[in-house]
Symmetry: C2
Subunit: 343 residues, 2 copies
Amino acid sequence: MKTFFSEEHRRHFPQAELSGGQFVTPYERPSRVEYVLARLKERGMTDIVAPGAPDMAAIRALCAPDYLDFLENAWAEWKAEGMAGEIIAANFPARRMQAGRPPRNIDGKVGYYALASETAMTGGTWAAALSSAASAQAAQAHVAGGAKSAFALCRPPGHHATADMYGGYCFINNAALVAEAFRRDGAGRVAILDIDFHHGNGTQDIFYDRGDIFFASLHGAPEDAFPYFLGFADETGVGAGEGTTANYPMLPGTGYGPWSAALDDAIARIRAFGAEALVVSLGVDAYKDDPISFFKLDSPDFMDAGRRIGTLGLPTVFCMEGGYAIEAVGVNAVNVLEGYQDA
Amino acid sequence: MKTFFSEEHRRHFPQAELSGGQFVTPYERPSRVEYVLARLKERGMTDIVAPGAPDMAAIRALCAPDYLDFLENAWAEWKAEGMAGEIIAANFPARRMQAGRPPRNIDGKVGYYALASETAMTGGTWAAALSSAASAQAAQAHVAGGAKSAFALCRPPGHHATADMYGGYCFINNAALVAEAFRRDGAGRVAILDIDFHHGNGTQDIFYDRGDIFFASLHGAPEDAFPYFLGFADETGVGAGEGTTANYPMLPGTGYGPWSAALDDAIARIRAFGAEALVVSLGVDAYKDDPISFFKLDSPDFMDAGRRIGTLGLPTVFCMEGGYAIEAVGVNAVNVLEGYQDA
Ligand SMILES: [Zn+2]
Ligand SMILES: [Zn+2]
């Protein structure tokens, strides 16, 4: 399996994450991908290439124009306003405050386009997010060109980003870009399987009314886990998308037994849906030692999960998402890929 | 004029305010009221008394039960979860994430009940908020008992708090408690005039569908100023409350000329409404040197504003709200009271 990866990810390296009422070093940090690269090499998966420039037309087709303008210009506006720190959202269109008018002031604008405050933006964030999207796009093109599968080693991740909001370390929804590209390249139906510990709220939001794209997510129950306000089992899609969203929220302490049962159910639903291509939002924070998650998967479980995903026999793009037990991220992510290849 | 004030306000003294991507010492700090007390004494307004216990039944009638439970227990839950810092909201029911299900986890719960992240909560916040509400209630009782007016030197302030959300330094809406108390004591119609620099989003939200309570707010335009997402001129109320909300958003640099014209219009509307009692949300952050605001009122303007308010001739409770040019807060707030008394 070929890996697509851009060193430009380093341009996104905020110093601060708001957590527990304090600033901590962000859990989502550049060193995460070093462990994945090292493990790929250790396992002989050395076909690792840099993507070309991002396909901006596809990014513009996915995201709201005002949101992309915001991502591109936020740092300059923030600094012009005299803000001393990194960009961190402090004001929100809270309950019953959602008239939908984005503020002029950058401090308000940040809150309008954010869905959480843990994620800081810096001067390099936009470039890094584009390079991450470019890796996803290149991986999809590789598969559309005939490869069975590809791995987009995306950083920053994407699955929390909607068409018009960032948060949960995500800015542009890489998995959604891949799904849309598969559709444009001729796949009638596409499935996205999100095995990151956190609910893929952004991906769900983007495709919630779409009958041609199936979205399944295995994640910590929203009552207990970020992003807290989406990912309930009764969210199943609307309109043409009714029945094309499948959420599997699970409680603290969930191990591989119930988790893999949910995975099997999701796989069966994807098969029944008739997907012709698959996107896997590959987060490995379901790992037992992940510092911000509460599932109990062990490293071999990720290989088994990869095998089960492989039984679908679909052209597949894996997009890297979360995983914060940094030294184990490489083994766990590559285990999924190896399991898939073994299937 | 008698002043109601509780020393319990000191129990709310967070160390951190999220501002410009950094933590700064909160603008809303205990020393603010010291300057008001000093100025009251300087001007011979020495009738300053502590309120009794808060009327909890009235607070429960105003606020959502789950919100009050949250305020009372948040600190214990936050500490039980092992959080190291003060309570600061980091996750929100953002756009299209408002299913309305409060999380179990305290980190998610905080975001559900917050409308912004600048406001930290600590172990003493609940007690301080109750003492502030008690001052407002005691001031109202004093006026209901026959006094022409009273000053509730409230801290923390209240006008950003809704029945179920805190933020903007506010936890319990003191002005709303006073308005409801006037209604219970027999006033058929009550007006709330909010001259704080910031839109009184909480007060508006509480009474938006009420025909018996008129709300007028003079404030920085929401495009440019906190709370950013409410306070537009076209928000005029709904249902029975249609026409009983009047917003006067004004642009950066607004001076006393246009500001006092808006005040006159609000006063005329209150007179036409037929209010029998008046609550003034007395913020003085419209002052030219306020560090977080952008109007250009000078200290004598506040006295003139008080005189204009006094022409209504209504029984009036003044509730202290914002004002962060700390050394000027006393002069400006007491100027409003003196102007009112001179009218
Ligand atoms: Zn995750
Ligand atoms: Zn204010």
